[in-house]
Amino acid sequence: MVMAPRKHREREMLFDSVIALVFILVACVDLCDGATVVDVYRLIQYDMSGVPFGSRLASLNHHAASLHFSPHTDLSRTVLLIPLRELNMSFVKEYIAESKPLGGLIFLLPRLFSFENKDGKGSNNRDVSTEPLRNVLAELEQILIHANLPYPVYFAFEDDNIDAVLADIKKNDVTGQPATATTGGYKFVVSAAEPRKVVSPPITNIQGWLAGLKTDDDAHQLPTIAIVASYDTFGAAPALSVGSDSNGSGIVALLEVARLFSLLYSNPKTRGQYNLLFGLTSGGPYNYNGTRKWLRSFDQRLRESIDYAICLDSIGSWENELWIHVSKPPENAFIKKIVEDFSSVAEELGFKVNLKHKKINISNPRVAWEHEQFSRLRVTAATLSELSTAPELLEKAGGLVDSRHFVNEATIVRSVKLIAESLARHIYGHQGKNIQIFAENTNLAVNPSYVRSWLDVLSQTPRVAPFLSKDDPFVMALKKELEDHTDEVNLHRDVLEGVFTFYDSTRAKLNIYQVASVTFDLLLLLVLGSYLIVLFSFLVITTRGLDDLISLFRRPPSRKVKTA
């Protein structure tokens, strides 16, 4: 008689809890507030002639492991967290070459390569301790760019949080139990949308014009000297491709040369009889696609009036040797003159400029140097660079390795001096005379703080062309700077053509969760269950007596039949 209402009550409570359960399951809203949130930068994803390259996925939700994972484990649902300092090249090659399944890869880069790294920049680049790291990173970058990885790959910078996580993961791995759903550990989550193609990536070339002094009415006949630098970059992580040396140094040098000559040209007495054309071109890593488009947009007369063009490429981290790359034979009169000008000035400044001749193969689509685009249109041109040999396609285009840390502004100042002085000798016809126009402690001296501030800006601005919008603040800033120094600035817009297709989603936030294992949850359930049972028994004994408790269990078969 006493039991009946309770049974009824119990059934009601059961019903209630079922309803509650349904509500819980229906209203499952995912809340992502992890303990640690880290900025991560995705490996580039692109197609070349329809062939997929780079990381093909963006979203990530897997357990983490370190390089100390036990062999023969299935890593297809595991993210490997690999610090660059411990990177084993053979491992990467093995995994990428054999395309073994992985849940994902996260590379931890030392803060040295971060563009937020403020300390120790410009300390001379030949730092012994960082050189091996640089080489490893450069090698890794090339491998990753040319691989097709069907899982997400991200880069992150070391910091205290992620270091602590890494230490924990290592400890876990060393004990021999890789983290899976049953053993707990860390879970890495990047919620990102599926990467989409960048439709008709824009390229914007910026040109500035400093008109020479017209002696008579035949201003059209004034010859022109072009100074050109390509400003965009390419690297394994588009959001980290700041390219301090390639080609940040070239941009800085171009801007400083423009500034110096604008000072000279503002006074009619010192205005030269040459027009100066400054060009900041886009599409550099893709066979100088932007340069090509820009040159083709020129008026025929303008193109013919160009005496010669000097292209600046990577001039920020050399010691005592620069190279002039030409594609016309060195016997050519113009080339001879250029080389003479440069090497005589270089001699006075105390270093060497060498000439390197490389013929153009018209049938080869690869354009290794910017001047080759000029040469293909029969314009005399040369590239000034610290590199002695032409880089391969997508190589040394301002990727991960090319950080501010390895570029010295004093070197750029020397380069600027060389360029400006050589140009001035050509323009004002002082060949063979030892006259320093841009001598130090004059108002025409190269301004190191101007160089430094621009270099700092460039070293914090990722500039991969497909990810720069049409009116990107960076492009506008360059335009404004050229407007300050030259008379006439034009933007030449076009679309990046060719074999490349790019995909967006270049940066994301990585949420790191510390998760408990299923076994822990089961154990907890067990503990809680026994706690409740003990509590129940205790309460029954204290309030109703031991006999009552025993009587509850005395007739288990009949109870079971009733509830069933």
């Binding site: 209402p5 998760v515 299923v518 359930l525």
Partner: protein, 235 residues
């Protein structure tokens, strides 16, 4: 997996209430109505408390410890006692013995408190991927709170409902009732102000919960003894 954790924490937080109800004679005498009434009174009391807090407390911009504000908070905490008084004495209950009445009221009170204060954080937090001990500790806290609520209801029923109690015990009853009544405000202000406690006393959440559990058990024992002592002459 995380839903699993949520269920574990929910069992820890709300399980003891159900067990208490089904294991004690409360379920036999069908005192659910009394518990629900007590819960409603609790909700009303909580509303009044919130209004008082909003009216009399100023929002402190800094994390500093302001004794006056804390005192005010504790004072507002005593509104609970008024609510409990109302639930015990003014409400018309079905004909159940005093013995069961205070248990039912205490149970309803504690359950409403748990639902109001712990269900939402549990729902939001324990289902996340991140694992923390916080929700398990919070469940333990709910247990301590259940014990405290029932002790307070027991002492309240001794104070307000029982007429013939031993004279010598009266001051002790009032003293322990005072202690039990202040306990929630003490611990709540502890857990609310973990920020400066962590710096000041160096107390962490586990320690606070341990303190709560310990004091609640001690107070429960004292109230039980008092109740038994008051029972004796009438028997």
């Amino acid at each position: 997996m995380t839903v699993f954790h949520f269920f574990n924490c929910a069992i820890l937080t709300f399980g003891p209430h159900a067990v208490y109800y089904s294991a004690t004679p409360l379920s036999e005498y069908d005192t659910l109505g009394t518990s629900i009434k007590a819960a409603v009174v609790y909700l009303a009391t909580a509303l009044v408390k919130l209004i008082c807090l909003a009216t009399f407390l100023k929002v402190s911009e800094s994390d500093s410890f302001d004794p006056y504000q804390e005192f005010l908070k504790a004072l507002i905490g005593f509104i609970d006692v008024a609510g409990l008084y109302f639930a015990l004495t003014q409400l018309t209950h079905r004909n159940i013995s005093q013995n069961h009445k205070f248990q039912a009221v205490g149970l309803g009170w504690a359950f409403a408190d748990s639902v109001l204060h712990r269900l939402a954080p549990l729902w939001v937090g324990a289902r996340g991927l991140e694992f923390t001990w916080d929700y398990i500790l919070q469940g333990l806290e709910a247990n301590a709170n259940l014990v405290l609520s029932i002790s307070l209801a027991a002492l309240g029923s001794l104070m307000w409902l029982r007429k013939n109690k031993p004279k010598t015990l009266i001051p002790i009853i009032y003293l322990s009732a005072g202690i039990v009544a202040t306990m929630p405000s003490i611990t709540r202000s502890f857990s609310d102000s973990l920020r400066y406690l962590r710096r000041g006393l160096g107390w962490h959440f586990p320690k606070v919960v341990g303190f709560e559990l310990f004091t609640s058990l001690v107070m429960a024992f004292i109230s039980w003894q008092l109740f038994a002592a008051c029972q004796r002459p009438s028997v």
